[in-house]
Structure formats: C-alpha cells, structure tokens
Amino acid sequence: MADRGPKKLVKGNVALAEGAVQAGLRCYFGYPITPQNEVPEYLSGRLPQVGGIFLQAESELASINMVLGAVAAGVRAMTSSSSPGISLMQEGISFLAGDQLPAVIVNVMRCGPGLGGIKTTQGDYYQATRGGGHGDYRTIVLAPTTVQEMFDFAVLAFELADKYRNPVLILADAVIGQMAEGAYLVPDRPIVTVDKPYIVTGAQGRPPQNIRSMYLEGDDQEELNYVLQDKYRLIERDEVRYKTTQIDDAETVLVAFGTAARIALSAVREARKMGMKVGLFRPVTLWPFPTPQLRELSQRVNKFFDFELNLGQMVDDVRAAVVPGTRVEFYGRPAGGLPTPADVIQKLKEL
C-alpha cells in the first residue's frame, strides 16, 4: 500500500472532487444544485491548476452531453448533480451507455418527488440501479458511506468506467456530501489507465471513426444490446463489492447502504452490547448488486432487516437475492426523516 500521508479534515463533496482530479479528471461540466455545490466550486479552482477545464454549463442536459463529447475525445470527464438534475441527464446517460463511452456521474441525492428538499434521502435507488433512462442498459453504481470513500470511489469510478467503457454513477447522499471527516487525499495505489482506440480525435493515419448508438441495418441494434448484456454479465461476475460487520454469528442481518449503513453500523454495535446477535451487510456496488453473496448468507441466516432512507427500494433486490423462506423485513423513512440507531434497534426488537 502506498503512503497516503496525513489525514485531512475535509468535506465529502470536496474529497470526491479531489479524488476525481487525482484520478485524472480533466474536464468537468455541471450545473449548480444543492447539496453538491462544493464539487463544482472546488473544481472551478482546482482543475485549472492541473491544466484541466471547468465549465459551468447552461443546464444538466448540456452538462451530460458536454461530458459525452469530452469522453468521446478521450479525456476523463465528469459531471455532478443532485436528483432533479440527474433526472434531466437520463437521456444523455442512456446515450453514453449505448455509445459505450466511459463517464463518471455523481448524484448527491436530495428528496423527491419533484423539487423536494435538500435533506438526506436515498430515493433514487431504483433510478440508479435500473439504468435510469430509456433502453436496456445499466450503469455501475458505487455507494460511499464515508468521506474517505468519496475520495476512493472517485478514483475507482474512473477506472471502472474506462475498463468497461460504461458510465459509472457515484450515488451519495446529503450527509456524506456535506459532512467533514478525516480522510487521506492521496490514492492508495497507482491510477490505472487504458488505451482508448475508439475515440474520435481525427482520422489521421486511419479510416474515419464514428461513435453512435443508432444502428439501422439488419439486426445491428439487437446485436448492440447483446454486446451490452454480455458486458453487464461480466461486470456482475467481477465487480461486486460489499462489506460485512459481525455477520459470522449473526441471527439477524441488517442490510443498508450510504448514510443508512452508518446508522445501521452504530445500531449493530449498540445491539451487540445488549447481547443481540446482529450483523451488517453493506452493498458497496448497488449495481452490480451482491445478489450471490446475500443468497449464500441467507443459507445460514434466515432473518434480514433492510433499512433505507426511502420507503423501500433496495429491499426488492434483497428479497430477490435470498433463498425462499427467508424473512426480510423493511424499515425506512423518506425525505429527511433521519432515524437514530436507537430507532433501528427498537424496530429490530419488534421483529
């Protein structure tokens, strides 16, 4: 492991932005929206220091399509926004997926539906994990729980995007974006880069190249879909990430991501002190979802307790993962109603 130097006290959004720069981000396009404004504000000063481009776009529609242009020209590019802005970007994300272009998109979620508010919530799980826009596609989704992960996942996101030529979404929530924690602002390993022979940078010494998602001839459009699905199966096989805490002897396993996982972790520690045999399973990649791992765990544990800051979205994936007969309960609050660890323990006791 590389020497990461001293930890610094930094906000989640800033850690993410710095991680992106160190991962090689050179073009950022975005439109202001709370609670992610620290990302563009930081990058507007930081990117010029490394010869990068920061441009405040006229809208999220423009942002995502500027990102599409920049990555098509071979540069590591990113946009960030919050829920309504991410909704506006969906057409562009679908194009990125269809074009098989790498891009990093950050969603520091806010409440919905509609304009909603800026309190902590996890209402965009479905949108993030089902592709979000039109067509049969998926984006890789990383869900950080700490400021350190905001930094580390920014690096990972660029590597995964390039490796699979696919958009990668970092799905954070307001608490993670806004809070300050100590974090290493140096990557723990050298940054991985890949060759990009598909980019459009002028037909010099080679035939012209084209980037598109529309194939009108014969079965070509169908073929593209099969190519994408093969890629998704590969990602599902190789890129599942998750973390567990005290599940070895657990009788009940909490499942949670993002801020909910932080609350759940405190709840597990408290519950253990009370003698309750509780553990935590935290999906880190929301897509690919750790389905096989949860299934295996459910051979042994038959009580799962899914906890989310919404009214039940990931719980569908948990139910689909576990073996038949496993009990899966849900507890959640939407739109900023932030439960405490004590609330979670209370619900656990009521099981």
Binding site: L47, G51, A62, N65, M66, V200, A203, R212
Partner: protein
C-alpha cells in the same frame, strides 16, 4: 489534353446517400467536404450529427463523426473542443434540432463563443419524422401537424436564427445562404469556407444557416421545391451576412483561468 475539372472531395466517401431525390442535404454535405479539403483539416476534424435526416452523415463524410441526442449537438461539440482544442469541430444540425429542442444549447454555445463551426440546415419542416411543423415553418405553411397552415395565434412566428445569432456577443460570424441555384450554392460554399476559417484562424464561433429544400415533406417535385425556397422561404428568411467581426482577439476562452483557491470553500443551500 484532358483535364479533370470536377471530382469527389476527399472529405466525402464514395457512396450513395440515403437522402431523397432533390434534397439539398447532399449539396450541403459536398460543400462542407470541400471546405474540409480546402483547409486541410479532414484528419483533425470531428463532425457532430444530431438526430435528424443527417444523423447518418457518418456514412458520407471521410472524417471522424459522432452522433448527438436531438438538440445536443453543440453541447457535445463543446465537450470535444474543450477536451481537445487542437481538433476542428463542426456541427451539422437541422432546424428542429438547433432552433427548437436544442435552442438553449445553441444560444449558450454561441454566447460562449465556442470555437466551433455550425452548419444549420433550415428546411422549414421536420424531415426525419415525416414533415411535422418546425420552429422555422412559414406562416400559413401546411405540415402534418399544421394541416390548416401555421398561424400566429396558435404556433407563433417562424424563428429567425441568423438574426438571433447576430445579437450574441460570442458569435464572430453568421450568414444565411441558400442552395436553390448555382449562384446561391457558390455563396453557400463561400459562407461555409468563411465559417471554417473563423474557427481555424480566430478560434471563433461561425454560424451558417442554409435554406434547404425537403421535396418529400413539401410534397413537391424537386424543381418546384427549390423554387418554393427561392420564392417563399427567402421572404421570411432573407439571405445575407448578419455579422462578420474583423479578426481580433479570440472571443473564445483560450486557456484555463488562474487558480482561484487551494481548497474548495463550504457553501450551504
């Protein structure tokens, strides 16, 4: 001795296009290809083709191309040019694309003075989707969604993009030309060349509106469609140069601004 006086520009591939008989997309393609040749930028050019009849221009141009979502050509073009300022970027957009769904991107890219050349094909209808009303459809013109003709009361006025562009400070050059006869084609060629020059020599935003004939959706034979452009379209969309700034300091941001702060500042709500 024989002398070759007419040949296919290197910028075009040797294929037959899918465009309808009498469609001026083909003419416009050739003029753009001639400009690519003339300035020797074919090997560093990227053409942006948004949804519209010309979305398949990648089949015809002998240069790199990228598809854009309907209306987003100038956002995609901005991304490419900002990422790689050494590339030559042109967009090729219809009126639905540039003046309706993409109007916001058009205005802002123009206003930023992006170093991009815009070829804007105004045929007064939506060609690709079958002849619906466009933002440029003439008053009283019948389309499949204005069966009784476009009215001011219901649809408002045709949008005059060249005039609009001329008012934006980021625009270096903008002209409206046509292609209904040889003389007009020559003027259109000159306009496209100038727009290219504006990008290559001055890092500026050049905009060429080309009045174009869509015989299929006008439901006219090709010659009649050309005459309709000359007689009817030109009345609403007068030809001419609307802006041509003398070469000066580039309006485009040439390099990144000085560093602002070491650390991002915290801001709320």
């Amino acid at each position: 001795m024989q002398k070759k006086v007419f040949s296919r520009p290197e910028g075009l591939l040797d294929v037959t296009t899918h465009y309808c008989a009498g469609c001026t997309h083909g003419t416009a393609h050739r003029l753009v290809a001639e400009a690519l040749d003339h300035f020797g930028v074919r090997e560093r050019a990227v053409g942006v083709a948004p949804a519209g009849c010309s979305v398949m221009m990648y089949k015809y141009f002998n240069c790199d191309t990228i598809e854009a979502a309907h209306g987003r050509a100038l956002a995609v073009g901005t991304g490419i040019k900002r990422a790689r300022p050494d590339l030559f970027v042109f967009t090729y957009q219809g009126d639905g694309d540039l003046a309706s769904i993409g109007l916001c991107e058009t205005m802002h890219a123009a206003n930023r003075g992006e170093s991009i050349s815009v070829i804007y094909v105004n045929n007064a209808v939506y060609g690709m989707t079958g002849g619906q009303m466009a933002p440029t459809t003439l008053l009283c013109q019948r389309t499949t969604t204005t069966p009784a003709g476009r009215t001011v009361a219901n649809e408002g006025f045709p949008l005059k993009m060249a005039e609009l562009m001329a008012n934006l400070e980021g625009v270096t050059y903008c002209e409206r030309a046509a292609m209904y006869d040889v003389k007009q084609v020559r003027r259109a060629r000159k306009a496209i060349f100038h727009a290219f020059e504006i990008q290559i020599q001055h890092n500026g935003f050049g905009f060429v509106e080309l009045l174009s004939a869509c015989p299929t959706n006008l439901k006219m034979p090709p010659a009649k469609a050309q005459k309709w452009v000359a007689d009817e379209m030109v009345k609403t969309f007068p030809l001419g140069v609307f802006k041509d700034l003398p070469p000066g300091p580039s309006p485009a941001p040439s390099s990144a601004p000085a560093a602002l702060a070491e650390e991002g500042t915290a801001h709320a709500v």
